[in-house]
């Protein structure tokens, strides 16, 4: 029987199959953060159940942390309490925590890959839907609810039905200025927000093979925005080179042994997927969203479609856009470059490359938030911070920030924000805020121009 990448990793982790029921799936790594773990710790404590494998859990503080003055006590009492609980729970249960200010601190889906915690062929979970990010390494990684966080604490396993398989192929040559973010926004705009529900998605084709690990992470990150619990890309030399030498990666002969195994993981030729789609890379252009779900995306050069249904109209009313309208020249006062989708070094290189020698538009408030302490450090090492400062931008400290606006980084009511994050839901970036999702290049251009521009015109 020909197997897919997903089958190979999944089948290697099945502890037991229950007749007419789910399977017990073993979890190699469990990542936790302050927002979705406290109730799980509470439940275990209440039931007198110990944490089964504390060594396989890594914690970070990211969702609810300030992005300025991290050395000071957190001002908001509820946030401070949540962070204190994470610290206490980790200490009590012997779990490694990279808390605020630690050199390894950062957004969970940025810090784990850069530390080599994420490795091909693993199963990984986290109480966060963007755990799909780690699939970029050929890892089965998916978001779970807090009850499941408690289950993994208790048994390092989950009870699951094996999902169906889906493959999205993109082949051809990407146009200049088309970034991994555009590729995934394009795919979601074509397939819709629930095409992947019930499926695990593999991305295949030369476009993904030629992408960096950062780019692959951006793509896999947004799998959940088309409903797929996870997205995967076959591990290859790019993957091995990225993992090699990182803090928690296997070393020496162990590494070579692992690579030999990882090389067996790619999908067998002629393996069958339950659903498959093909796209031509040449059809993709820089994308933006105009509505209140990530499937509502268009090429910047296109107009908002004309659809007559109540949900579509409700969405446009919230955004204060008209059917058929072009978003080019739309004035924008807020720009956010950050989030687990686009806060890695490559994203800031793209932004700096565009910004170099230009000045920030006066009307724009821009938040540039690196995904981790390590990314922040690298920005300084590469001199990108000088580019940003000379243009009138300041860099903030790592965290999820305005992606979900749990901290003080909130977009004011009624304002538009061109954002490199992953969700444009109503109020996602602050009550009444209006989010336009885009790549770091489009976000940087918006910050310079103070309005949305057709970036393709500048590039060609």
């Amino acid at each position: 029987m020909k197997k897919t990448l997903f089958d190979k990793v999944w089948d290697a982790h099945v502890v037991k199959e229950i007749e007419n029921g789910p399977q017990i799936l073993y979890i190699d790594k469990h990542l936790i953060h302050e927002v979705t773990s406290p109730q799980a710790f509470g439940e275990l404590e209440q039931r007198g159940i110990p944490v089964f494998r504390p060594d396989q859990i890594v914690a970070t503080a990211d969702h609810n942390t300030p992005t300025v003055d991290q050395h000071l006590p957190v001002k908001d009492a509820l946030s401070r309490n949540q962070l204190a609980q994470l610290t206490e729970n980790c200490k009590k249960n012997n779990i490694t925590l990279y808390g605020l200010g630690h050199k390894y601190n950062g957004i969970v889906h940025v810090m784990a890959p850069e530390l080599g915690i994420t490795q091909p062929g693993m199963t990984m979970v986290c109480g966060d839907s963007h755990t799909s990010t780690h699939g970029a390494f050929g890892t089965i990684a998916f978001g779970i609810g807090t009850s499941q966080v408690a289950q993994v604490f208790a048994s390092q396993s989950l009870l699951l039905q094996k999902p169906k398989s889906l493959r999205v192929n993109v082949n051809g040559t990407l146009k200049s200025g088309v970034l991994p973010k555009d590729v995934i926004l394009y795919i979601i705009s074509k397939l819709g927000t629930n095409a992947g529900t019930g499926y695990f998605c593999e991305y295949a084709g030369n476009v993904f093979e030629e992408m960096s690990m950062e780019g692959r992470m951006t793509v896999c990150n947004m799998s959940i925005e088309m409903g797929a619990r996870g997205g995967m890309i076959a591990p290859d030399q790019t993957t091995f080179d990225y993992v090699k030498g990182r803090e928690f990666a296997p070393q020496g002969a162990d590494f070579d042994k692992k690579v030999a195994y990882w090389k067996t993981l790619p999908t067998d030729e002629n393996a069958i997927f339950d659903k498959e789609y093909h796209f031509d890379a040449a059809d993709i252009e820089p994308m933006i969203t105009y509505g209140t779900n990530p499937g509502m995306g268009i090429k910047i050069s296109e107009n908002i479609p004309v659809e007559n249904n109540a949900s579509f109209e409700k969405s446009l009313a919230y955004m204060n856009f008209e059917k058929g309208q072009s978003l080019v020249d739309k004035e924008i006062n807020y720009v956010f470059i950050g989030s687990c989708t686009n806060s890695r070094i490559e994203d800031f290189r793209v932004a700096a490359n565009y910004i170099k020698g230009k000045k920030k538009a006066d009307n724009v408030t821009a938040w540039f938030v690196p995904g981790s302490q390590q990314v922040a450090e690298q920005i300084v090492q590469e001199g990108l911070n000088e580019v940003f400062e000379n243009a009138g931008f300041t860099l903030r400290q790592p965290g999820c920030s305005a992606c979900l606006a749990m901290n003080d980084d909130k977009i004011p009511e009624g304002e538009y924000c061109v954002s490199t994050s992953n969700r444009n839901f109503e109020g996602r970036q602050g009550q009444g805020s209006r989010t336009i999702l885009a790549s770091p290049l489009v976000a940087a251009a918006t910050a310079i121009e103070g309005k949305i521009i057709d970036i393709t015109k500048q590039l060609n």
């Binding site: 017990i24 073993y26 109730q39 609810n64 499941q148 989950l158 529900t197 619990r229 839901f425």
Partner: protein, 195 residues
């Protein structure tokens, strides 16, 4: 976990598609460290204006509609994995959510909290919306044992799918932790096979 066997109730119609978990419970309410009280902020930004006054146009504020069944548009619960969304729905008093499609993580979270997601065809969903719209007192029966949802006034009914294991859990109020812990020795044996 609450048991769920059978329920008859009037329903609240939420005819909006792609209801995401940020609408069910906005992120700013995720700072709590226990599971209680999330119902207060269920659909917060649709139920209340920014000044805290009630949005009379929102269906949950329409006293005509009551009950422990929420009937919602396609692709309910998409977005974030926050189980707070399921807690909020449960805490508000809903025992059942009916839709033509559910997002995966929400569905699992609901089942883990004794809230039954009932997936029906788009046609049957429309029939439910129409019936509730016509008569807000119309009762809907959800029978987990027989996996059947019925509009009591007309007798129109549909069968819904549920994983047999999850069905047993709901009917008996079991949760997955108990089951996983009963398999610890097998999990430990499996670990020994990992290199």
């Amino acid at each position: 976990m609450d048991k769920f066997v059978k329920l008859s109730s009037t329903a609240i119609p939420l005819a909006i598609e792609n209801v995401d978990t940020d609408q069910i419970i906005p992120a700013r309410f995720l700072k709590a460290t226990n599971r209680d009280g999330f119902g207060e902020n269920l659909f917060r930004d649709w139920r209340f204006h920014k000044d805290g006054s009630e949005n009379e146009e929102f269906v949950l504020n329409d006293t005509k509609f009551q009950g422990s069944i929420l009937v919602a548009g396609d692709n309910f619960g998409c977005g974030s994995s926050r189980e707070h969304a399921a807690w909020a729905i449960h805490d508000f008093g809903f025992k059942v959510v009916v839709s033509s499609f559910f997002a995966d993580i929400f569905k699992g979270n609901a089942l883990n909290n004794g809230v039954l997601p009932v997936q029906v065809s788009p046609e049957f969903l429309k029939e439910l919306f129409d019936a509730i719209e016509k008569d807000s007192k119309t009762e809907i029966q959800v029978d987990l044992e027989n996996q059947q949802i019925t509009l009591l006034a007309t007798g129109a009914s549909a069968i819904f799918e549920i994983n047999p294991y999850k069905k047993t859990c709901l009917i008996n109020g079991y949760d997955d932790i108990d089951f996983l812990l009963s398999n610890t020795s097998e999990i430990e044996a499996f670990e020994k096979t990992l290199s």
